[in-house]
Symmetry: D2
Subunit: 377 residues, 4 copies
């Protein structure tokens, strides 16, 4: 579906502007009987929230979720689940000085061209504030995937500007380490380096790009649909729809440009696949290996450093963005990317059951490759 | 939409298997009054066809399009346009020896896990033969975009394994040169090098990855929809849905990981944008600059070199794929990628008119950056 | 779309239960620039509200609409419009005695069979309370249709049990008379008769069926889509989706069973159609005549008169429904039916512009039949 | 979905014009493993075909179905099933004299207004010829429903102009009698009366309306979705989308206008429901009783008797339609209506499994009312 609704059987509709009275979402198609309480949204919303460390925007929202419908006596009823979060820390006046100017690299110009109307307060609908509701919806998808299918969806920051995780990191993150620092970084030892880098960046008034990796463990073979409903096609759409994302890779992604076929193909044995270059998807359908996806987040365009632009009258001006902004939006993107992957997987799981619910378990089913994580697996 | 239908207002449904009697598509929602004749499909189908040079599969299909409906006296009527192509050069017996085995890296394993049923003849539905109909549908989208909006959608092979275009190529392809060699390569002088490389590769029995770049010139600002219907989100889904694609980039793509905000943002002046790192899209909506997308095609998994795998009984075997296959599927992907981009753009154009048909031209409208092509522009 | 979302380009998603904390909706795809204020919802919500007269349920909700998003400085922005109404007059304890029993003719049994979970408070999601948000969404559709296309959508109660409008009523209602009585009845003189009937019915503890007629004046020829997106097909779905509706007619409806072709066909002259048996739709597409639809509302199943049924353990019991219920749900259905017709028309108008925006006005365009109303036309 | 695609999980797309080269459909989302052979389409296509008796149009099409995809070794594979029927008995010249005129009551005027283009040959896309493919798709749905769920979908002609079935007919048709006459009439004894009536009608050059009743036996409780995806809402859309249908009823339909609540509600006992006024649906969800629907077909507008109209220049003319037409299109509508009901039910069954596949059988499950048929049940 287009616009503000996402998914086929499990459908999420979000609404709300950054500086409007509230943001919210409606989650339709969730199976009945899933236990869910308002406090279960807190953990992931906190992971996504600004104001968690000095490395993200200083805006501090309580992000208290109110469940308006679809849950009775603590369980989903099968009817639409509406979630609401009131905005409490808007500072629309921060935007007064840019209300008449377009930030280069920002959506305010393209929105203006589309709608002929402008809501300058904090980016309006194009603000990353909207992703709060994706994370909230993702909490339900993650829980259902874990309870019903033993699937876990987890992400980490795989690159911050030029900084990459150092050995002993080998691509299999220690998930407890990831959760233990404000960068979702898989190597505890590097965290001071990141902090120094970010402090200098923030002081400079500039911003930086980043890469986030998401891994879904436990996805059974068969999820996904051929041609235009491919699992990787839908992951690409879901991840590219996150603010600031400019690229998506499945498995080896762009590294496959220079790979030979004998190098890329994942050999199969009765004991399991010998590698996972495919990222767990072949022909748009899951193979039973971990599903892996990687995204790039561009550096934010809201900068204190002046830049050439035009104003609403078409006159040339220099723009300077004050207000509260993230110098690296990639940091907080990890829980958002997890949420989008979880929503795609749950929707595909339900669609698979719809069409192929009678197929049952097909043999041979090759075991997935070695787990993509460790510790808390 | 899921599965085998693509688009919202302009909807394309494809059907058919590689070695079945026919392939076809139904194109719904096309505006009435567009002139279209069966012979107009030939050019792009020929560009996509196998057997065009020794560097692609030897299968040779006539690919004669029959228009079954939706066109009356040479013009579209507004009702569904059905196109049919009979398969004529199947050699299903080529697949007899792999009917009981799974090719590592091929969709035959995941299809089997999903449906519990296997059509081993030439990959069945997962074969790239399906993309023939995407190219056919794309012909209509390209024509409408050009006639109605002056938009052109063109692609080229931007990398073949380790080989990249050499100077004087600077990212602005000479489109007539691209069409003048079987690789869609933008530098005429390098073609002999590519031929030598491919001859050696084919002899070795291995395959190689590639990268394709697509550029849409003339896209007006405003096309695209926020959040889940973003222009880049839909391009990502459309391009990732092409066989063998493992990654999609918009604009600078993954290069943005190491970019600063001051480097990435495209400064604006009344005379135009000063760069196009964004690839013509901000917040999911076109800015008026050329829309640029890049994809990676993995090396094909149908190899003459033996590989470890399992058979349908789960026993370990060595598989060798004979039959006719492309050593680099990326070569023929150029017209397919163009088609998918054109279909997304036409659908978004119609959706934009639906919701925002009264907005009109909003000022200031910044001119697009310098043209992305030359020669035949 | 399925479930709780309605429409293609203009999409309405509703949520909320009768006795939950709130009900609401998200209206997506509305063109930008439409002026809308919270108080504009009041008139139609009041028309639909219970407690307006002694002839409807005694529940009295304030139905204050809060606009949560999509409107900036009084105008729609093109982003999703979220509306919220808090429930304030629930009396869930009224349902304590039927929490373990199924009302014959009520959805509580079928919901239970579907979801395995039961929200007995006031019918939960199956309550007519949900239609409040349809009416709210319909306010926006009605306003856009009137401003942009001069279309008006109005309804009246065409039959209450055995009572039908008397001459001089001739099918062309005096709309100001309709709005002047609590029954939406087109003949002022009959109102005392209806009041006497309803008073006796309420006293008896029984309920009664009704018929509602909706007329859309000013619909231009061309709206509607062939085959599965027919204007009449979508009106049928929209109207049948209203609680208690068991039948839908377009134009002459079931009277056509006994009509001859020469009697049913609407003859055409350059001065206009000579009749409107078709109800303004041929082949699923509007002709330019008034679009007319008629629905039947069954008598409500929540009765004080005891009836045989079973309880959740499958044991036979006698059920008696106390609480606050409408003896004739058809009375309040008029504004709901108007809203659904308006939403279908607006969605079709936008879709027509998407595909056929370049067709322009086709000649000859036959004038519509004599206006379907008078007085305030 | 809109336009020419129908359904959500099971999706049918039809294409083709009455006098074009072929008609066809693509059936997407069908579960894999269903056995289906080309000859299985024959029975229902023959029931729908013209030329079967002197009471229908004299056009005689072979209606040979070619399966183009989605079936391998006699079984569905889960990929799209494309069906093709070549048109062989067009007589486009029959339409030469009305190419410039609009038939009153016919879609050729509204199509012209929508698209600005006209395909006069036999009504083009608006012809009932399109319904051939609905019947073909319905064959698959009927087979799956019967095999997987024991559901049967059958219809009969319930009224022909003023003629209704006579006692001993009591609403429970003898299905073998229905199949034994060209009218799908449930009372064998009345067939001579119908023949006499039709012979006189045909001679007069006029046409007549009709009513068709469809009954689905064995539908389990729980199928259907609340609010906008209601089972009755989707049946209404599906049935109203059939050519010439002007009204749809579920259960008692319009008779409920004059019913009291105590009369309409279906009392429940552990041994079963005591009546079926609801037509097997409450709140949009199946109750486990037979699902019953009734439709009205208007008299066709293609008449030999002259009528006032305009031509494409807007001038007044008298139109006379020669060519081959049905004096009562309702007769052949029975298999079409069955097909549409079957397609809705199968789609809802798959959607129910998607969301509620874990709910299982909920107790108490009340047995359905007495079977709606006899003899061959």
């Amino acid at each position: 579906m287009g616009l503000n609704t996402f998914g086929h059987i499990l459908r999420v509709t979000t609404f709300g502007e950054s500086h409007g009275p509230a943001i919210g979402c409606v989650i339709d198609g969730c199976p009945p009987g899933l236990q869910i309480a308002p406090e279960e949204f807190r953990h992931d919303l906190e992971r996504r929230a600004t104001g968690r460390s000095r490395h993200t925007s200083a805006r501090r929202e309580a992000d208290e979720v109110e469940i308006l419908s679809g849950v009775y006596e603590g369980k989903t009823t099968g009817t639409p689940i509406a979630l609401l979060i009131r905005n409490t820390d808007q500072r629309s006046k921060d935007y007064a000085n840019i209300a008449q100017q377009f930030r280069p690299g920002h959506a305010d110009y393209s929105y203006w061209q589309k709608y002929g109307i402008r809501d300058p307060r904090g980016g309006g609908r194009s603000s990353a504030r909207e992703t709060t509701m994706r994370v909230a919806a993702g909490v339900i998808a993650k829980k259902w995937l874990a309870q019903r299918h033993g699937v876990t969806v987890r992400g980490y920051l795989a690159q911050l500007g030029g900084i990459t995780p150092r050995p002993p990191f080998d691509g299999a993150p220690d998930w407890s380490a990831v959760e233990d620092n404000p960068f979702f970084w898989p190597c505890a030892g590097q965290v001071p380096e990141l902090e120094t880098y970010m402090d200098a960046l923030r002081k400079s008034g500039d911003s930086i790009g980043a890469r986030v990796q998401v891994i879904a463990d436990g996805v059974p073979p068969g999820w996904g649909e051929p041609i235009y409903g491919k699992l990787d096609g839908e992951l690409a759409a879901a991840l590219m729809s996150i603010n600031a994302v400019k690229g998506v890779e499945i498995g080896d992604g762009f590294a496959a440009v220079t790979q030979k076929g004998t190098e890329h193909r994942d050999l199969m044995t009765p004991q399991g696949f010998l590698s996972n270059h495919a990222g767990g998807i072949l022909g748009g359908i899951a193979t039973g290996q971990p599903v892996t996806a990687s995204i790039v987040l561009k550096p934010t365009s809201s900068l204190r450093l002046p830049g050439q632009t035009v104003d609403v009258a078409g006159e040339p001006v220099e723009v300077v963005t004050t207000g509260r902004h993230d110098p690296c939006v990639g940091i907080r993107a990890t829980p958002i990317a997890e949420a989008m992957v979880a929503l795609v997987l749950m929707d595909q799981a339900l669609r698979h059951r719809a069409q192929c619910g009678d197929v049952g378990e097909v043999l041979p089913r090759i075991p997935g490759a070695a787990s993509s994580g460790n510790a808390d697996d």
